[in-house]
Amino acid sequence: MNALLAAALPVFTEGPSEVSSVTREANWFLENAFIIPLLPAISFLLILFFGKRMPKKGAEFGIAAVGIAFVLALITGAAWLDHRDNFDGQLSESPATGIEPAHDDHADDGHADDGHEDEGHEDEGEDEHAIGVVADDGSTSSDEVALAVEAEGDGHGEEGHAYVAVQNSTQWLQSGGIEFSAGTLVDGLSVMMLFVVTLISLLVHIYSTDYVSGDRRYTHFFAFLSLFTASMLFFVLSDNILQMIVGWELVGVCSFALIGHWWEEKPNSDAALKAFLTNRVGDVGLLVGMITLFFAAGGGQTFDTLSITNTINQGGVSHTALVVAAAALMAAVMSKSGQFILHTWLPDAMAGPTPVSALIHAATMVVAGIYMVARLYPVFWEGMQIPGSSINLLATVGAVTLVGAGLLAFVQTDIKKVLAYSTVSQLGYMAMALGVGAWTAAVFHLFTHAFFKANLFLGSGSVAHAVHSFDMKKDMGGMRTFMPQTYKTFIIGSVALAGVFPLAGFWSKDEILVGTGGWGIFGGTGGPGSYTFHLTMGMIGAALTAAYMTRCVYLTFHGEYRGGDHGHDDDHAHAHDDAAHHGDPHESGPRILYPLYILSGFSILIGLVNLPPGFQLVPESWQERFLHFIEPAGASYFPAVGHATPSWSLAIISSLIAFGGAGLAYWYYFVKVDGLARSTGQKLTELPNGLVTTNAWARAGHKVLVEKYYLDHLYTGIIAGATKGPIARAANWTNTHLIDGVVNTAGETAVRTGRQVYDKIDQGLIEGFINGSGRVSDATGQELRRINSGKVQNYAAILFAGAAILAGAFIVILAL
């Protein structure tokens, strides 16, 4: 019945303009990408059950699984590169028809089969997915390819090959005509994420074998690293929004477990709770947004990501619905990706072990929000009205975040918190880039940022491993003489983050600035909008980034060593090898250094994968490789994003601004502070007569920054406090006056009624009946208990007597 009912409804995705950009038949690795998240998931179970019995306490499972997953991700990436340029197989019918229940109908079945044979499609073995694969009667696949290529012509393609995502899904369950499927969606974006997540996770695994060695929950730690990797991979491969929600929540749970890894100390478990609860706030938005999308764009029938984005992209969804969905999803992005004003959990999350910070809070988990926006981009493209405008919520939140968090990084004394705010700031860049329509720039920045930020986090962990503290001002300084290798890699990471030519950060940051389209006066524009305000914020952010990284490098590695002469603030559970570390700190071991070398290499080189088109120093075929392979240009599920033309003037000016920021910080720390420290022989970290101490305005500003814009006060003190008090008072008043009155009256009435009922009905009628039945059963029992003698032979006698009676009855009946 359901099938008939649904078939009667108009199938909302069918129309002449429909262009499908999905296939179900491609390279084996692209079709079977689900193996990649499966491996760490299996490793999680193995570690959980057998980890403690293994010689390496379970770490070998994690490293092996993630290592194989990394190799598979590489092969999948290579397969994707080939697929992107050379795929000319058969396209699926629009994914939205994947749920078209008409095929349950017998009448339609024959029709569909006819279409099959006419076209001679060879999809045996895929017949279980026939509902998705069957093409319409007339349209042949070559028509669809032609359409797709045509669409690409409008977009950005010049190679002539359409961008075709690979989807492989299977039905999970069916209920009420809605098919819940589970599957993988492989396109450039997910392939890139597979590479980033598996590589960084592998390096973090190797790093952790040294960093958390001897920890009391070593096995547990590796189990959760595996589970975390699996959840993130599951999330980026999901082909429907339901699966995305599951992956999103799994990632959140794992971050909770890992941030609170050392939960014996109150601040750590508080930080874990804060991360979890703040994320819950956003998760409500995620749910609301996804439900809106399900009904508005999925027609209440499908959760499939591609069919939803397809429908939106073809203009099949009302603007109001998209505004609601985009705003609700914004809340999710703000909490998960640490955007202002829900970013407060992220710096606190530094309570977790450093490898976790690198994995979760730099490279993978926090980019889940960015990834979600990139994946569901048409929702934001239409909902936020990105093209042709100059301001929108997403871009503005990103811009405010990037400057606000950049400022906060200046007042931190904890090296990891500097990096945490830096992460928030860079996530602001990504959100802003998405908001201004520079999709590729945002994804590219996500890509490059993952490497240099993981590099910096692991580097800070290496330092902390040596000095047993994260406090730059108290316990560090002069580390470059003790740890020259860590110093070099940290410098490379900082320079890449600051955006210095030609390291990774330069290319992606410049692309974002170009993408704002705000550089109109000097030429070099043509982005989707003209976001001048956001360009300005991006410039300020570039200067701030360079400056706070200079400060961080000075406080950690330069000046004089300030630690060693007081007790270790060992928040980092390494008490067992304290003895070995007494005396001067020393360089970390190879399992910590090699990941740093690898990440440094990536930090230097990875920016070259997306050289801008105007970069005349290299042949044209080297330019915009990333854009070509990652951006779904011309795909039916992706909006026609315009691309800004890069400009030399902007690149030079933004570099100058970054150098200006770094120079200012250099002048303050390396020249003034260092000079004063040398001349007085003191161990200084700030000037004693600096602006903050002499100028009232500067002092006030400093205070605001130290108090983190009072956001924590706002949340716990004002919002929680203000709601707690009045609600409690109102509840009390209601309780005493309203509810008590009702209750008392009801009680008195009940007592009076009850008395009457008791006297008349209860005592008279019911009592008699009950006592009567009691007496009857008592008497019966007294009689019957005599049979129950406890003697087996009596029972046997009764049994035989019964059998004899039955036999007699049987004979009598037969005789009759």
């Binding site: 208990r785 129950n788 003698s789 406890g790 003697k791 087996v792 032979q793 046997a796 006698a797 035989f800």
Partner: protein
């Protein structure tokens, strides 16, 4: 056909068995009486099987023997435990289940 004689023998054995089960106080003897009952049934099964020229009777008899073996095993175990606990296998004293 000797059917009647077999049936009479079986009936006699059955009655002796039932008498033994109901009357004897000794647990061992009760168990042996149970065996008598079962074998009476076996005789009936084989006799009727031979009459109708059907191996089903013999097969059922075999099943009965197998089940009886298991039953005796359990029965002996119960009697043995009873003896260990009470130093007696007198069934008339065993009335713990009295209501």
């Amino acid at each position: 056909m000797l059917l009647n004689q077999f049936l009479l023998l079986a009936a006699a054995l059955f009655c002796i068995g039932v008498y033994g089960v109901l009357v004897r106080k000794n647990g061992m003897l009760v168990l042996m009486s149970v065996e008598l009952i079962l074998n009476a049934v076996n005789i009936n099964l084989v006799a009727f099987g031979a009459l109708t020229d059907d191996v089903g009777g013999e097969v059922f008899a075999l099943f009965t023997i197998a089940v009886a073996a298991a039953e005796v095993g359990i029965g002996l175990a119960i009697v043995l435990l009873m003896y260990r606990n009470r130093r007696s296998i007198d069934l008339s004293e065993a009335d713990l289940m009295k209501g």
